[in-house]
Each structure stands twice: as C-alpha cells, then as structure tokens.
C-alpha cells in the first residue's frame, strides 16, 4: 500500500530526474547545506506569518498583538515562533554568508549568486525591522523613531513616509504591506539564487577536489553523484525539521523564563514590551531589535550620523557586494587570501562587538579614543594571527565549528534552565512528568545528535582501516535503529500530550515546545534513517 502510494508520487513527480545538483557522498554535512537551513527558517516564518495575518489589525497594532497572544488559540505559540523564525533566518543567513565568504564561494562563476545573497540579507534585515515595528510596543515605536531619525538626518527624510506611512498616528497598514512585499521579494530572489546555486553551478566541491577557481564539477561528472531523490531529500528534510524544531522550542521555553536581566532582553525575550503611552513604558530602557543593535551603537560614534552610517553600514555592504570583483586571484584557501580572510574575521568580530556594546550601553555617546580602544586590538590580533599561520599545502579545515551543533548545545542548555525553572514555578506532578520527559529526551538527543549530523567522525576516522570502520559503523547503525524506535515512542507520547494542552494562557506555550520537540524528533529520525541507509564507512572526496 505504502509502496504503491510512493510509486504513484514517484511517477508523477519524477524526482530522480530533477535538474538539481546531485550530491557526492562526502557533502552530507551541514556546512554544505547552510542554505537549506536559511530556506527552512524562511519557509517557517512565511507560514507562521500567514497565520498571524489572519488576526493582525494594522490599525490597532498593539491591541491586535495582545489579542493574538492572549485570546487566539495558540496565538502566542505562532507569534513567538514567527519572531524566532526570523531570528533564526538572520543568524543562519549570516553563518551561510560568512562560511561562503571564507571558502571563496563568491568567486567565479558564482559572483551573481553571492550578490543576490547579500541583497537578500539586507532585505531580510529590513523585513525583520518592519515586522518588529508591527508589534507597536514602546520598543518598536522607539525603534521606528530612531530609524526615521537616521533617515531624515541623512537627507533621506522623504523615505520616512514611504517606509512607515502614518506609523506615528497608529496606522501600521503601510508597514504591514511593505513587510509582506519585502518577503515576496526575498522569495523571488530566493528562486533565482537557488537555481543559480543548485542547478546552474552546483555546490562547491571540496578543496581537495578543486582548490582553484572555477570550483565547479562539470555537469557530466555531477550526474554520477547521488540523485536528489531520495538521499538529498531525506537529508534536507532532517535539516529543515531540526531547524523548525529549534525555532519552536527556544521562544516557547523562554516564555517561562521570567525576569531576564535587562541586557538579555533584546536577545532572548519573545514577549512585547508595554505600549508606548502606558506608565510602565517610562521605566523601559529602549533598545532596537538585536540585529540592529550594531547600528544603534554606531549612531553613538563621534562623527556625524551620516558619516557613522556610511562607515558602519554602507561601506561594509558595498564591500560585500563588490568583493567578487576585488578578490580576483584564483585561490580558494582562506590562508591564501589572507587580506580577505582578515577583513571577514574583522567584520564578524566588529559586528558582534558593536552589537554587544549597543546592548550594554545603548544610546551612550562614545569618544574616538574609546572607539579605537575597542576596535584596534581585535583587528591587530586577528591580523597577526592570520599572517603568522602558514597556508597549508593540503588543508584540513574541517575543524570549523559546526553551527548546528552549536545551536543544539545552546538550545539544550536553555532547555535545562527552562525546565528547572518550570518545576520551581509550578511544582505539579504533570509539570514534573513533562519536564522529566523533555529533559531525558533532550539529554539523549543532545548526546546522540551531534555525532550523526556533524562531520567529525568521517573526518577523523578516514585513515583507519576500512574493515574496522565498517564494524564500528554496523554497531552504530544498530544503535541508531534502536534510537529511532525509542524516539518514535517518545513522539507518540508527546503527540498524545499535545491534545491536553490549553489553547491560551500560561501553559499554552508548552504546545509550541512539544511541537518543536516533535519536529526535532522527526528531523532526527530522518537524520538517523539517512545515516543507517546511506552512510558509508569511507566517503572519499572524489
């Protein structure tokens, strides 16, 4: 029966024949699939946004937000995960971009893919800002004030009504419209970006295969790799579902963490602040959303605002757009492109540093000497470091930190804090059972998840003997199979529990946590299935 349904679809869709890039065995690790993670976050955010669109009223933004949170069944789950979907998309887009920057993926023939990607990041930030403004709380309104102020001080005041319409009068229709229009734009650019990257040029081969520009597999060669169906599909599903799981789990757990210190608020608090005209608003230190904290701090620099913005935003943006045309060597190794690697490192360091600075001292003016004190040391240290490391002949750069593992670790830590807190707040039997369930599921997951999706093993055992690898692999596959069964049982228990969670109120966010766990489980099931069925003891870089 199942077989027949599968075949029916197979015949209709012909997934074997899709023109997408066929992937060599060694590329099934997350570093090569970061774009899929960004796309996964994008689709989640679009879907949750469409649900919110059914309830949002741009003429009463704050009240509509409160209604969604308090009255709409599971409205807060959708709203908070929409916010974190956007957060995830921004973080993953940065990771995706910088990873491709360091491996030189912007080089010939992928210049256009790169430029589209940079534009998409800029539009994503703009879209997120507009979406954040739709909440209409004191933070959103002050962020819009700052944004409008920056625009008009740069002589771009005519853009204020174009972007924000009648925002200060409480009419957010324009912001809502642009928010959606920008998303549509991202979607369109995504299609082009995806087709260029996946159909036209294919993914970048490992440097062991090609360490010089142009880094492409000839089409004749890549047609021999694993077809898109089923292996790519299964691997992609595992990544997308894991992303969705974290997007749901993190904010819906953070809801239960009350009284975060003020400095953690811009990063971790999914709840809206009080409305701007309420007495409570007076006691709130205003800060922009975390992805614009860097901009907020740059505005505090001693030069004129326009100069600050040009230095802090336009120069980096233009640099990223034209870097394919400046970095013209045919070298791909980061240590053979030391200047550009250094610029990339400095950009990341400055971005994080300025954001944190903006978080710790929002709106506090700084002097030039403070600016130099803050920015010179990391620039010098990274420069010395990069120039001292000799470029290896055959590099092994796999030790690059795996973003998904990092995300997983962070989440698991938050899970623990959250669940302990949950017990403290409501020490009922059901909460203990629930928390026990979450905790054990995630301890198990946390231990087992990382080795399967990261590439650490295949990288480190490559030199070991084939037969040794093989028997180890068989044992691991058996463990993985047992894990699949265990996870299925947990999934069924959780799914049953989800029918009992109230639709609104304090406990309703547990629905989001449960749904997130289900997504993580199914993502993990796909990952394990992929591992058991397709993993080979040695996956040489052909």
């Amino acid at each position: 029966m199942f077989e027949r349904v599968k075949n029916w679809f197979k015949e209709r869709i012909n997934m074997d024949d899709l023109p997408f890039f066929r992937t060599p065995d060694y590329m099934y690790h997350v570093g090569d699939w970061l774009g899929a993670l960004v796309a996964g976050a994008f689709f989640y955010t679009v879907i949750s946004g469409l649900i919110l669109l059914l309830y949002y009223n741009p003429e009463a933004g704050y009240e509509a937000t409160q209604t969604i949170i308090n009255k709409v069944p599971y409205g807060s789950v959708v709203l908070y995960s929409h916010l974190y979907g956007a957060y995830a998309m921004i973080i993953l887009a940065y990771i995706h971009m910088f990873r491709n920057y360091f491996v030189g993926a912007y080089k010939k023939p992928r210049e256009l893919v790169w430029i589209l990607g940079v534009l998409m990041l800029a539009i994503t930030l703009g879209t997120s800002f507009l979406g954040y403004s739709l909440i209409g709380d004191v933070l959103a309104t002050s962020a819009v004030d700052v944004g409008a102020g920056i625009l008009s001080s740069m002589g771009l005041g005519f853009l204020v009504p174009i972007f924000f319409g009648n925002y200060s009068a409480g009419d957010y229709a324009r912001v809502l419209g642009l928010h959606i229009i920008f998303v549509a734009l991202i979607g369109l650019l995504f299609i082009v970006h995806f087709f260029l990257a996946d159909v036209q040029y294919g993914m970048m081969p490992s440097r062991k295969v090609k360490d010089k520009v142009p880094a492409v597999y000839p089409k004749a060669q890549w047609t021999k790799f694993n077809p898109w169906w089923p292996r790519n599909f299964i691997y992609m599903m595992s990544l997308v579902f894991l992303t969705w799981g974290f997007i749901l789990i993190v904010p819906n757990l953070l809801v239960y963490l009350n009284g975060l210190p003020q400095i953690a608020n811009p990063f971790l608090n999914p709840k809206p602040a009080p409305p701007p005209n309420s007495p409570a608003a007076a006691s709130v230190t205003t800060y922009p959303p975390w992805f614009f904290l860097f901009l907020y701090k740059i505005a505090d620099f001693p030069a004129t605002l326009t100069e600050n913005i040009v230095i802090g935003v336009f120069i980096p943006l233009i640099y990223l757009l034209i870097v394919p045309f400046i970095d013209r060597t045919d070298e791909l190794h980061p240590l053979k492109r030391k200047l550009f690697t250094w610029i990339g490192v400095v950009m990341i360091v400055f971005l994080i540093q300025t954001s944190l600075w903006g978080d710790l001292a929002p709106g506090v003016p700084v002097t030039w000497s403070q600016v130099f004190e803050a920015y010179l040391p990391p620039a010098i240290i990274s420069a010395v470091g990069i120039w001292l490391i000799p470029p290896p002949s055959k590099a092994n750069y796999k030790a690059l930190v795996n973003p998904l593992t990092m995300l997983g670790f962070v989440t698991i830590t938050i899970m623990f804090v959250g669940s302990v807190f949950e017990i403290m707040v409501s020490p009922s039997l059901s909460s203990v059972v629930l928390v026990g369930l979450f905790a054990s599921a995630f301890v198990t997951l946390g231990k087992l998840l990382s080795p399967y999706i990261t590439r650490t093993e295949s990288g480190s055992v490559e030199k070991a003997s084939i037969s040794g690898n093989e028997s180890k692999l068989i044992i691991k596959k058996n463990i993985a199979e047992i894990l699949m069964i265990v996870l299925m049982i947990i999934a069924i228990v959780i799914a049953a529990n989800m029918w009992t969670i109230p639709t609104t109120g304090y406990f309703s966010n547990l629905f989001g946590v449960d749904l997130g766990i289900l997504f993580v489980i199914i993502g993990e099931e796909f990952s394990l299935y992929h591992y058991i069925v397709y993993k080979k003891p040695v996956e040489p870089e052909e």
Binding site: F2, I51, E481, L487, A491, I494, L518, Y529
Partner: protein, 321 residues
C-alpha cells in the same frame, strides 16, 4: 563506488556498495557460524534465508522498509500532534451568554447620578448596552413645564405581529428615567437622525426645520392628538415613537417599537445600572417583530460585538443647531 568485475577485456560494473557490504558480511558469516551444507541441501532456500537473517542481520531491503515504517509512524505522530494546534485557525468569537449588570458612567468615568440628570434635555445622551455597538438613549422625561413625569409600566403592542410585552416603567427618584434602543426599528437609522424631541420642539415650526431636526406634520399631529409632551422621531423616513409609553409606535413607517433597556436605580448611591432588555429582539433570532421571551438567548448567538462589561459611558451630542 560501485564494484567492478573484470572479465577478460570487458569491465562489468553493477554491484552497488550496499550489496557489496552485504555480500561481504554473508561471506564472513559463512566462515564464523558454520554453514551446514547438509541442512542446506535438505531445506533449500529457507535454510539459507534463515541463516543469513540470523547471522548477518535482516536483509537491507527489509530493514529499510521497517525504518521507513518508523518514519511514517513519527510523521503520523507529528500530524496527530499538529491537529489540536489547528485551533489557531478558529478565531476567538466574543459573545455574551447573558445581560451584564452595567453601571452607567459619564465620559470621564464617574457614575451618572439619577437625581442630577437634566429633564427633557435636547442633548442626545447615548450609552452602549449590552454590546459595544448597541447604542441606547438615556432620557429623563418631563412634562411641558420641565417637571419630571412618572413613567408607568405599560403593555406595549407590536403592530407588525400584534404581540404584546410588558414595559417596566421609569426609574429614579421620580420614576421618570427611561432608556431605549437608539437604532430605529424601521431601517436602522442612528442618532442624530433619530432622537428625542423635548416639548418645545414638538410644534408645527419644526416641520420646516432642516435635517436632522425636522418633524413630519403627521408626527406633530399624532403627538398633539395623544397629548404627548415629547416624542422620539426618526428623520430618515419619519417613524415616531412614544417615549412615555415604552417607545410604542406612534407613526410609521416602523412597525416595531424601540426595545427598552431595563434600568435599575440604586437609591442609596443614586447610581443607574442597565440590567437587561425587553421588546422585540434586535438580535438575529426573534427579530421578526416577535418580542423575545428570553432576550438573552438572542445574545448567545449574537456575533455583532463585544460586551460592554460592567461599565458603559455616556456620550453626548446636540442635534439642534
């Protein structure tokens, strides 16, 4: 990395990696777990199959099916978990299951004092009850000299159906305070087109006044005939209601009286409360001119608005220029 066989000059490919591993394990098993050839000769294929199953692990195709079954199972669990979440698509509908007891307050939130309510005021005083969109007049009725008049309980007739219902009469220190729906029962005109005409405006001079202050000759005539000091008149099509007798129909085109708010006066505080509704239903059920026996049943099905809650504030406007 398919395995290749060399047969003479031909290179024959074909064995997939999975098959190769499997084959290799079978060969290993043959060596490790004594393969009984006599048994094989006797039982044939079955023996071979069992032997492989036992010593090598399930055949990959079978194992794969099993794993796919787990994937399907977890997907089913995911779907089962999402189903209760689909309630997110059901909008929360604000409906009230009964009439709230609502204190009538002025625009700054202070309760209206019944004894200070102006008599025969030309000002339109409106409050919402029981839903936010349902507006009602608040009237302190008096005679031609501006003295409050006691409004007795009356039986009101609905011309449309001939049905009758009981209007409870006025409240307040002089039993002169009443409240009626401010939505004309003819076609739904609202203030300022429909409003109260105090005695000094009920005369022939008003026939030539501009909208929304005009009275029809018919209305003036009817008022004089019944000796009514004031009337409620709708300027849209000329319906006239008798506020002194439960807002009964005085002139058409309306065929239904205005529904009345049941008021309660707290003599110790002098506050006024709205506690219910009588008359023909303004809500979907019973709107055919049949007075509702249980008006709250209409409310349950009403999706027109949000309950006013326990306070409703008066808004004032003057229709007369």
């Amino acid at each position: 990395m398919p395995l290749k066989f060399r047969l003479g000059k031909d290179v024959k490919g074909g064995l997939s990696y999975q098959d190769y591993i499997y084959l290799k394990r079978i060969v290993q098993a043959f060596r490790l777990h004594r393969f009984d050839q006599r048994e094989f000769a006797r039982k044939g294929e079955d023996y071979l199959f069992n032997f492989v199953n036992k010593n090598v692990g399930p055949v990959d195709e079978k194992r794969r099916k099993f794993l796919q079954g787990i994937l399907v199972g977890v997907s089913a669990a995911l779907v089962a978990g999402i189903i209760p979440g689909l309630r997110v698509l059901v909008p929360p509908v604000e409906a009230i299951s009964g009439f709230p007891k609502t204190l009538i307050v002025d625009s700054s939130g202070n309760p209206i004092k019944a004894s200070t309510l102006p008599v025969n005021s030309p000002i339109i005083m409106l409050f919402s009850y029981p839903l936010k969109d349902e507006i009602n007049f608040l009237l302190n009725l008096g005679d031609k000299d501006g003295k409050p008049v006691e409004i007795p309980a009356t039986t009101v007739i609905v011309p449309q159906t001939g049905d009758k219902y009981q209007f409870p009469g006025g409240v307040g220190p002089n039993k002169s305070i009443v409240a009626y729906s401010a939505i004309c029962q003819h076609l739904g005109c609202e203030p300022p087109y429909i409003h109260f005409y105090p005695p000094k405006y009920v005369n022939t001079a008003q026939i030539s006044a501009p909208e929304p202050d005009a009275l029809t000759a018919e209305a003036v005539l009817a008022a004089q005939k019944e000796n009514l000091p004031g009337i409620i008149h709708c300027d849209c099509h000329g319906s006239t209601y008798d506020p002194y007798h439960g807002a009964a129909v005085l002139t058409g085109p309306t065929v239904r009286p205005l529904p009345a708010v049941i008021l309660e006066w707290d003599s110790s505080t002098d506050y006024l409360y709205a506690t219910g509704y009588v008359g023909v239903g303004v809500y979907p059920t019973g709107s055919n001119g049949v007075p509702s026996k249980d008006p709250s049943s209409d409310l349950e099905e009403s999706q027109f608005g949000v309950s006013v809650g326990n306070k409703s504030s008066i808004s004032e406007s003057n229709p007369f220029s």
